[in-house]
Subunit: 453 residues, 2 copies
């Protein structure tokens, strides 16, 4: 669980136990909202409600966004219209839209009706974009300068809008008379300019990196990483500036996507809730479907084995190497698939690189295969002391299984990606299930031929 | 492979083919350095050398940091002392230290000797910190204000240092007379302050979030995420401000750590080189060791099977369910281990939470086990039409294997973490190998008892 300073936590706990909610609230608002949020997420509901009646609407807005969603929902239900309206006024549009998206319809409607008309229409715009698009998490409050302004005009304009969010002014965006993005200029450049009469158009970067409002959030996070940016302007199809997106959202996207990919690779239905806050039933629900599907999927391996039952019973020693073959082929396949899936996720690879990938993987597979069979043959002959025909059977099957698994492991994610599905599901247990069945088929086919079973 | 605009690429290619390196260089320096870097990473070495002789040292510094390391090393060798010195003067200390760290000793020494004494001593300081510490990637060029300065003084001080890096002034840090971090103040606050006579101490945040110079890079990336920051001041043991670290480095750390964890989970020796740029031999080197180790590790499963050879030959149908049991137990274990490993990596879990984890996992494991055996029993009886004793044997073994795998899958990463190793290595094939052997032991033990073999 995320931690806050233990000394402070003790003080807060004492105030809470003694019912001194007023004093508790005062301490909380001096703390960093992120820390205060961690504490508030772990106190009883009625105490939380009381804290929110004690604090100003500005502080309420700051703390509310740090709470887990169930706490937020309860607070929304608890607050009266005035209190809720004032708090919403102090929240950014991306936080409001995240809340509205998660709330049940009736409560979402109440929140929307409490917004001033201007914010409500901004909310509608933000919520009209596809769920995974950057438009959905962008900020629509930003300051735009005009190219014809002087430095002095620009600074005056920034001063007159000083209530706005901090991120929006470290870099100022410049728009033309149609509202189209015309350039960007760092606040630092404005401050350090030698002559206040210089026009913005002379100092601005007239080709700032921008993203489209419908761009995928994950793609935008790559843009942040590629250009080392902290803010990116968001434009619509007509190149009009409609919002800005900040790097802290990109970090969340990057960590969430990596977590989701790992969960998919481990046969878990992706969830964003931190482990300790997820109820046991929910964890079970996220895990049991794939376990069941994959268990049923293993019917194929059982079928393969039973159809070669006679061969097996005449040479039981063959059974001993089934796990080794399945695991080695599975590992070989996972190495390839995880490499490809991660390369695609990081944007280091595109689906169009498929032939480069396959050519690389063929060579790696052959090299791995050779080393594995040489070592395995030595082990089989010297340690396990099987007959040379059995050793050759096992090694020949191993070689074929490793090479084929690596081919499938690299090709399947690309195939799945090219039909628009997430390659990550192919890097995990589905691949293993396919590889298992194939490995057994290869093994028994080789065995029946070489051993004449 | 990372892409740049194809139209621009075509123009650049034409200039390159016609040997117009001067014109090529001129186009490149108008581009975003990140894009120019992508292009330069893919042109022949001698053309790259020529480009760097044509451009100014400022642009050389900007473009150099975007190149892959082998290209950087070649350029360092190619450049004469004057050229190299000027370029180094235009690079940030964290980029210089990254270069020096990767270069072979003789070349690193040459670079160090070309630095001015001040930069050289900064370099020595940065390189004295542990490899994974934030001190190692922090930036030592920053502007510090004094609490007694007025707003006007502060702005004058920023103007007089306008050659400095941009990131350092969006938030200005305030130090006391001992150089200790005393506060922070956003540039925006300075610009929008109503009265230029106000002292910095009155407007600054006197308790900014700071990290220690020896803190782990991954831990610092969590601080960025937790507090939604773009810059964090770095202090030493005496709380003196020694550097700043920016969010773009944190993003790199987050993505690299996630990639490394995935590679470990997939039995690959971690590498940072993008797939398409890694030679086949290197890929093979990163993959073959674990394949070999795990193949040899599978000797245990073979031993288990051969020691129950008699039982197996008297009831060959049992063999058919070996893959299903191994895979299901393996999947169940991976689900737990990946969840725990990711929770630890994201800081959502700490090693001290182990009993909460185990208690949660026991319940999830029992619930998963029950559902799996109910479905499996039905399938065995209705579809596979095995005897009820065989069905009971398989199901009983399945239940035990799933529960034990989940226990091991959640406990092993915590155990490994608590002795200071990386939990991620336990979330992958090592776990599978352990689980496989255990599952077979359970299966055959149950079988010998229930079937009286």
């Amino acid at each position: 669980m995320k931690q806050i300073n233990q000394a402070i936590e003790k003080i807060l706990d004492e105030l809470l136990e003694n019912g001194k909610i007023g004093a508790l609230s005062e301490v909380l608002i001096t703390m960093n909202p992120a820390d205060a949020g961690i504490y508030l997420n772990n106190i009883p509901e009625d105490a939380l409600d009381q804290v929110f009646t004690k604090i100003s609407s500005t502080n309420a807005g700051l703390l509310f966004v740090e709470l887990d969603f169930p706490k937020q929902e309860n607070l929304v239900t608890f607050m009266d219209d005035d209190q809720l309206r004032e708090m919403l006024d102090n929240m950014f549009i991306d936080d409001v839209s995240a809340l509205v998206r998660d709330l049940p319809e009736a409560k979402a409607e109440r929140v929307r009706n409490l917004l001033d008309p201007d914010t409500a229409s901004q909310l509608d715009m933000v919520m009209s974009f596809p769920e995974e698009s950057i438009g959905n998490i962008m900020n629509t409050e930003f300051l735009s300068l005009k190219p014809t302004m002087t430095i002095a005009d620009a600074i005056a304009s920034i001063r007159s809008s000083s209530g706005m969010e901090k991120e929006t002014v470290n870099i100022c965006y410049v728009t033309d008379r149609f509202g189209r993005l015309a350039g960007s200029i760092p606040l630092r450049t404005l401050v350090t300019a030698r002559d206040e009469k210089i026009k913005i158009s002379q100092l601005m970067d007239s080709r700032p990196v921008a993203v489209n409002v419908t761009d995928d959030q994950e793609a935008v996070s790559h843009v942040f990483r590629k250009y080392d940016l902290t803010v990116i302007p968001v434009v619509d199809k007509q190149y009009r500036l409609v919002g800005i997106t900040t790097v802290d959202d990109a970090i969340d996207v990057i960590e969430t996507e990596a977590t989701e990919d790992m969960q998919k690779m481990a046969a878990i239905i992706p969830t964003e809730t931190p482990y300790l806050k997820t109820p046991v039933f929910r964890i079970w629900l996220n895990r049991i479907p794939w376990l069941l599907v994959l268990m049923i999927g293993a019917t194929f391996t059982a079928k393969v084995i039973t159809s070669f039952e006679n061969a097996l019973s005449s040479c039981v020693i063959l059974t001993a190497f089934i796990p080794m073959l399945m695991d080695t082929a599975g590992n070989a396949g996972s190495q390839s698939s995880v490499t490809i899936v991660r390369g695609l996720a990081l944007g280091e690879l595109t689906l169009r690189d498929w032939y480069k990938v396959m050519w690389k993987e063929v060579r790696v597979a052959l090299m791995c295969g050779v080393v594995l069979i040489v070592c395995n043959f030595a082990k089989l002959m010297l340690l396990d002391r099987v007959t040379s025909t059995v050793a050759m059977t096992v090694c020949f099957a191993l070689f074929l299984a490793v090479v084929i698994s690596k081919m499938i492991g690299s090709f399947l994610p690309i195939l799945i990606g090219s039909i628009g599905l997430d390659p990550a599901v192919m890097a995990g247990p589905i691949l293993t299930t396919i590889v298992d069945a194939l490995t057994l088929l290869i093994y028994f086919t080789v065995a029946t031929h070489l051993l004449g079973l």
